[in-house]
C-alpha cells in the first residue's frame, strides 16, 4: 500500500494520450508557429534568448523527469550532464569553426556541424550517465542520490582544471548557431521520447521500479538494466540541452553548472509533479519566466529599482521554501503523475450527459 496522498498507478493511465495529440497534427501546428516565431523574434534578441532558455529548461526538466519521476531514482546531479554536453559541444564547434561542407550553402553547413557537435555532446553525456547508472546496481535510494550529487561536483572540478575547457574562465567565442527552431525541435524530441517511454512496456517497468523496487525485482524486472537505461536517456538529453545552451550564450563557465543549477531543475520536476512530462514543461516555463516577469514588473513600478535587482537574490530562498511548502501541502506536485490533458477537462465546462 502506498502512503496516503501519493498517486498510485492504479488511478493513472500513464500511456494515454488524447487522440488529437496522437498523430502528426501537433507537428503540423508547431512547424508554422515556430517559423513565425523565428521571423517575428529576429528583431528582438532578448525574446529569442528568453525563448531559448525556456526551451533548454524544458529539455532539462523533461529529461530529469525520466529518472526522478518515472524511475523514482532521485538524481541531483543533472547540471553535471548538462556541463558535459555544453563543453563537448562547445569544443567541437570551436574546432569545426573554420570547416564548411562545400556541397552545402554556408548556413546549412553550419547547422549540420552544429548538429554534429550537439550529438557529440549528448553522446558524451550519455556515457557519463551510463557511468552514474552503474553504481545503481549496488546502491539504492539516498545513497544513489549522493553519488549523483558527487558525480556532478566531480565533473565541475574536472572541467575547472582542464586546459582544453578554459579552466575557470570557461569557453568563449563559441559560434552562435542555435535558433529557436532548433531548440524547440529538441524540445519536441525529448517530449516525444518521454511520452513514448511512459506508455511502453519499458515505461511500465520504470513505473514498477518507482513504486517498489524490491517488488519489481521479485516480479522479474531487470531493475539495474532499466535504471541504467533511464540514466543514459536522461543524461543524453541533458547533454543536448547543455550543447544548445552553449550555442546561444556568449560564454560558458563552470559556474553555470553548479549544484544550484541541478536543484533548479529538481524544483521544476517536483513542482510539476514527479512523473508528469507536461507538468515538468509547465513548471519549467513558469519558473523560468517568473523572475523575468517579476523583474520587469518591479522595473515598471519604477521607484523600486533596487527591488528589481533583488529578484535574482530572492529566487533561490523562494525555491527552497517552495519545495518545503509543496512537500507539506501537495507532495505529488501540481499534476502528480497525471498529464495536462488528464487534468484540464476538470476545469473546462463538461458536456451534460444522460439528461435527454
Amino acid at each position: 500500500m502506498a502512503a496516503p496522498g501519493v498517486t498510485t498507478l492504479s488511478d493513472v493511465d500513464a500511456g494515454r494520450v488524447p487522440p488529437a495529440l496522437r498523430g502528426i497534427l501537433p507537428v503540423l501546428i508547431a512547424l508554422p508557429v515556430l517559423a513565425l516565431a523565428e521571423v517575428l523574434l529576429g528583431a528582438s534578441p532578448f525574446a529569442t534568448y528568453l525563448l531559448s532558455v525556456v526551451g533548454v529548461n524544458i529539455i532539462l526538466a523533461v529529461s530529469l523527469n525520466i529518472v526522478n519521476g518515472m524511475t523514482g531514482q532521485f538524481s541531483i546531479g543533472h547540471a553535471g550532464f548538462m556541463a558535459v554536453g555544453a563543453y563537448i559541444a562547445g569544443v567541437t564547434s570551436l574546432e569545426l569553426k573554420e570547416v564548411a561542407l562545400s556541397f552545402l550553402p554556408v548556413a546549412a553547413s553550419d547547422q549540420v556541424l552544429f548538429t554534429v557537435a550537439l550529438l557529440a555532446g549528448g553522446t558524451c553525456a550519455a556515457l557519463c550517465g551510463f557511468l552514474v547508472g552503474l553504481p545503481s546496481l549496488r546502491l539504492r535510494g539516498d545513497y544513489l542520490a549522493i553519488v549523483t550529487l558527487g558525480f556532478g561536483e566531480i565533473i565541475r572540478v574536472v572541467v575547472q582544471n582542464t586546459e582544453a575547457f578554459g579552466r575557470a574562465l570557461g569557453l568563449s567565442g563559441i559560434p552562435q548557431y542555435s535558433s529557436v527552431a532548433m531548440v524547440y525541435f529538441w524540445v519536441f524530441l525529448v517530449v516525444l521520447v518521454a511520452r513514448r517511454i511512459a506508455g511502453s512496456s519499458h515505461g511500465r517497468s520504470l513505473w514498477a521500479i518507482r513504486e517498489d523496487e524490491v517488488a519489481a525485482e521479485a516480479m522479474g524486472v531487470d531493475t539495474t538494466g532499466y535504471k541504467v537505461r533511464a540514466f543514459v536517456i536522461s543524461s543524453f538529453f541533458a547533454g543536448i540541452a547543455g550543447g544548445l545552451f552553449a550555442h546561444f550564450v556568449p560564454i560558458i563557465n563552470p559556474g553555470s553548472f553548479t549544484f544550484v543549477k541541478s536543484m533548479e531543475v529538481v524544483v521544476m520536476v517536483v513542482l510539476g509533479g514527479l512523473g508528469s512530462s507536461t507538468g515538468a514543461i509547465v513548471a519549467a516555463i513558469f519558473l523560468t519566466l517568473l523572475p523575468e516577469g517579476l523583474r520587469s514588473l518591479f522595473g515598471a513600478l519604477g521607484a523600486e529599482g533596487s527591488l528589481a535587482q533583488k529578484v535574482d537574490q530572492i529566487r533561490m530562498p523562494v525555491y527552497g521554501l517552495l519545495l518545503v511548502v509543496l512537500m507539506l501541502a501537495r507532495p505529488q506536485g501540481l499534476f502528480g503523475t497525471k498529464e495536462l490533458w488528464d487534468v484540464l477537462p476538470r476545469w473546462l465546462p463538461r458536456k451534460k450527459k444522460g439528461l435527454t
Binding site: 532521485f74 549522493i146 561536483e153 524490491v214
Partner: protein
C-alpha cells in the same frame, strides 16, 4: 618525513571538525533514516549566531575564557532551538510519508537557509564573507626540530573540544536512559512507541542535540578558517555528510573514522597534488568506498523486505 607528519597533523585537525558535523548527520539518520541535508546550513546559522555574540561582547571580552564559553553556549542553544523548529514544522508532518518527500524538504530548507542568509534585507548578513573574530589568539604550541612541524594552539584546542564532545555523545548514547530510548527509536520507532517511549520527544531531542553539535563544530571551523559566509554550510555540510557515509551512516564511531580519513585524504591531496582537485577527490573517494562497500566502511547493508 617532517612534511608527512605536518600533513598528518593538519589532516587530523580538519578531520575532527568534519567528525563533529558528521556525528549530527549520523545521529539523525540513525533515528529517523533521514538525510538531513539542512544540517550544514544549521551549522552556518550557528556560526553567525556566534559571530553576532562575539561582536556584542566586544574585542576584549570575546578573547577571555568566559567569553569563548558564552559564544559557544549562545550558538549551541540557539541552534538547538532552530533544529527543534525545523523538526517540528518541516519533518514531523512528513514522518509517515515516503522518505523521498522528507529528503526533498531537507534540500528545500537547506536552500532557504543558505540563500536566505545571502540576502541583505533587514538583519540578514548579505552574501560577502565576513572575518570571524580571533576568539582564540593563534600561537604555535609545539615546534619539532627547527620549525619543521608546527602545531597551532587552535588545532589542539579544537581537537580536545571535539574529542570531549564525542566522548560525551558516546556516553549519552550508550549509558543513559535517553540514549537507550534513542537507540530503541532508531531500531523501530513504532514498536518503541508501543513500549511507552515518547518517540516524538526523543526525535526532537536528537535533532536539538545534533544541531547543537553542528553549531560547536561550525565555530571550531570558523576559528580555523577565520571567515564566515552563508555558503559555508553547503560545502562543509556536504563534506561532513560524505564522511558520515564513508564510515557507514548511522554508525557513531564510523562517522568519526570516516571524517578523520576524509580529512587526511584531503590534506594529502592538497599537500602532494593540487589544491583545486580537493573536492573532486573527496567525492571520488566516497564513490569508490560505496562501490566496494555499499553500506560504508562500518555500515551493514540490511536486506530490504517488501
Amino acid at each position: 618525513m617532517s612534511q608527512l607528519l605536518q600533513h598528518l597533523i593538519n589532516g587530523l585537525a580538519a578531520g575532527t571538525i568534519y567528525a563533529l558535523v558528521a556525528l549530527g548527520y549520523t545521529m539523525v539518520y540513525g533515528v529517523l533514516k533521514l538525510i538531513n541535508f539542512a544540517h550544514g546550513d544549521v551549522m552556518m546559522v550557528g556560526v553567525y549566531m556566534g559571530y553576532a555574540t562575539a561582536f556584542a561582547l566586544g574585542r576584549q571580552a570575546q578573547r577571555s575564557l568566559w567569553g569563548v564559553v558564552v559564544i559557544f553556549a549562545v550558538a549551541m542553544v540557539g541552534c538547538a532551538l532552530l533544529g527543534f523548529l525545523i523538526e517540528r514544522f518541516a519533518y514531523r508532518p512528513l514522518r509517515e510519508k515516503p522518505r523521498l518527500t522528507a529528503l526533498i524538504t531537507a534540500i528545500g530548507i537547506s536552500f532557504a537557509l543558505s540563500y536566505g542568509f545571502q540576502l541583505d534585507i533587514g538583519f540578514l548578513p548579505g552574501a560577502s564573507p565576513r572575518a570571524f573574530p580571533e576568539v582564540i589568539v593563534p600561537s604555535e604550541w609545539f615546534i619539532i626540530g627547527d620549525r619543521d612541524v608546527v602545531v597551532w594552539n587552535w588545532q589542539v584546542i579544537s581537537f580536545l573540544i571535539a574529542v570531549g564532545l564525542m566522548a560525551a555523545l558516546q556516553f549519552l548514547v550508550y549509558r543513559t536512559r535517553f540514549g537507550k530510548a534513542m537507540r530503541a527509536v532508531s531500531f523501530d520507532h513504532r514498536t518503541a512507541a508501543l513500549m511507552g517511549i515518547p518517540t516524538d520527544r526523543i526525535i526532537a531531542l536528537t535533532f536539538m542535540l545534533s544541531s547543537a553539535l553542528a553549531a560547536g563544530a561550525g565555530l571550531l571551523y570558523a576559528i580555523k578558517d577565520t571567515s564566515v559566509s552563508p555558503l559555508m554550510g553547503l560545502y562543509v555540510g556536504l563534506k561532513a555528510f560524505v564522511a558520515a557515509v564513508i564510515g557507514g551512516i548511522g554508525n557513531v564511531p564510523g562517522a568519526v573514522v570516516g571524517a578523520l580519513l576524509l580529512g587526511l585524504v584531503e590534506e594529502f591531496v592538497v599537500g602532494y597534488a593540487a589544491s583545486t582537485w580537493r573536492d573532486a577527490v573527496a567525492f571520488g573517494f566516497l564513490i569508490l568506498v560505496l562501490l566496494v562497500k555499499p553500506g560504508g566502511l562500518f555500515g551493514r547493508v540490511a536486506a530490504e523486505k517488501v
